[in-house]
């Protein structure tokens, strides 16, 4: 049953035209790369047990090239929105012909989380990003660092948990989980908050960005995103003209993470 109102884009008029045009808005490939460059789980997968010790030459080259592109884009700043008017072949954007919800939410299906993820993951994914096959030297403790448990969330969130087995019961449960998930903004500055603040100020106020990065270093010296923090700090120092400090910090980075995927970006930052 679906008694949702007809969408405006299915009608006529300027508002309908505008909505149809708006559905074509999306990031350029470069903008996608800029987003991906800030996501450690995309560029720095944890090592698989028994993984080869070093990347292949072509893999390393691809990673390096990708990061250089991302670094240049991030340095350039001023992201733009791209109207992908001609790119009608992409399924995710062909929403007018194939509404997304009918593909993802068939009536009467089981709504188990595993089924949901499997369905999501069964979709073909274009191979845009390079894989990293090896990790930096002190990587032995990295998986545990990256997956270490967070401190418990608020009692409010804990109290809203529905008993096991109630998951597929009714739509009325959906707001419960959404409310539970609403607790994704931390009550104090955590790793992500500090890094996000540093990133946000990098272009407009590099001194503040450096301050946030250093706060992160004080609170989370070996945190899950220590490498990303150092890259931001080096970038901020370079923007402030404190080149000697940037180079010293880059040298320390190189010693600590000699095989980091961020090495190419640091090189790009420090290019004369």
């Amino acid at each position: 049953m679906n008694d949702d109102p007809l969408r405006l884009s299915e009608g006529e008029g300027e508002l309908a035209d505008a909505l149809r045009a708006a559905r074509e808005v999306g990031p350029t490939e470069e903008q996608r790369a800029a987003v991906a460059a800030g996501l450690p789980f995309l560029v720095a997968p944890p090592p698989a047990p028994g993984a080869p010790p070093a990347p292949t030459a072509s893999g390393a080259a691809a990673t390096s090239a990708y990061l250089k592109v991302a670094a240049v884009l991030l340095a350039a700043g001023g992201a733009t929105i791209w109207w992908r008017m001609a790119d009608v072949g992409e399924p995710a954007l062909a929403a007018q012909e194939t509404p997304v919800e009918t593909r993802e939410m068939p009536e009467g299906r089981s709504a188990g989380p595993a089924a949901e993820l499997e369905r999501e993951l069964a979709e073909p994914v274009p191979d845009r990003l390079p894989e990293r096959r090896s990790t930096s030297a002190p990587s032995a403790d990295e998986p545990s660092r990256r997956s270490r448990p967070r401190r418990p969330r608020s009692a409010r969130a804990a109290g809203s948990v529905v008993p096991p087995g109630a998951g597929s019961a009714a739509r009325s449960n959906e707001p419960a989980e959404a409310a539970e998930a609403a607790d994704d903004t931390p009550d104090g500055p955590n790793e992500l908050e500090l890094l996000s603040s540093a990133r946000r100020h990098l272009r407009s106020a590099p001194a503040r960005a450096l301050s946030f990065a250093n706060q992160h270093r004080s609170a989370f010296a070996s945190g899950a995103y220590a490498e990303e923090r150092e890259v931001l700090a080096i970038d901020a120092l370079a923007r402030l003209g404190r080149r000697a400090e940037a180079e010293r910090r880059a040298a320390r980075f190189e010693r600590r993470w000699p095989a980091s995927v961020h090495g190419a970006r640091i090189s790009a930052i420090l290019q004369p």
Binding site: A18, V25, W83, M85, E118
Partner: protein, 173 residues
């Protein structure tokens, strides 16, 4: 309750690839300044990564991600307000695409829609963007925003009324 598949690198990458365009569009039309859209998208996916293990499948993964997206944008807006910056200060720049006539027309339409959306109440705007642009069902919209479905309908109705009035009245120049 079924156990989640292990959320490894491949899983997150697949989720990112499948949702990044939609998240980008949602963030952009919820009024985040163009230059800050990449940062906000990163925050969304970092949160998804951090919380994926706690996703229990009581809503669709897509609904869950849009819930995170709208809350991340709301938090960003609060920070922007605190910094006394206008979140809508920048107008999208389309200099990446070739200046074809159709493209310019579409660009103008999008710009006009953004101007109109900027005049909406933020809560109405969230419902409108998720329903009209992202084509979610109203039940999914209500779930993502953690509001009763009737409230979602009311906000959609109010948003439509306001936007129709703006477009009819030609407030945009």
């Amino acid at each position: 309750m079924q156990a989640l598949p292990k959320t490894d690198h491949a899983s997150m990458r697949a989720i990112y690839e499948q949702h990044v365009d939609h998240v980008w569009r949602t963030v952009a039309f919820l009024g985040v300044a163009t230059s800050e859209v990449p940062d906000v998208c990163q925050e969304v996916f970092l949160t998804v990564h951090r919380k994926l293990a706690s996703f229990e499948g009581r809503s669709s993964l897509r609904t869950w991600i849009y819930g995170i997206t709208t809350r991340t944008v709301a938090a960003h807006r609060r920070r922007a307000y605190t910094r006394r910056e206008r979140p809508h200060a920048e107008v999208p720049d389309s200099n990446v695409a070739p200046p074809q006539e159709d493209h310019l027309l579409a660009q103008e339409r999008v710009r006009r829609l953004e101007d109109a959306l900027n005049k909406l109440d933020e809560r109405q705007r969230e419902v409108f963007v998720l329903y009209e642009l992202q084509e979610m069902k109203m039940g999914e919209v209500a779930a993502a925003l953690a509001i009763p479905q009737q409230t979602a309908y009311s906000r959609l109705h109010a948003a439509r009324k306001a936007l129709r009035s703006i477009f009819r009245g030609g407030e945009h120049s």
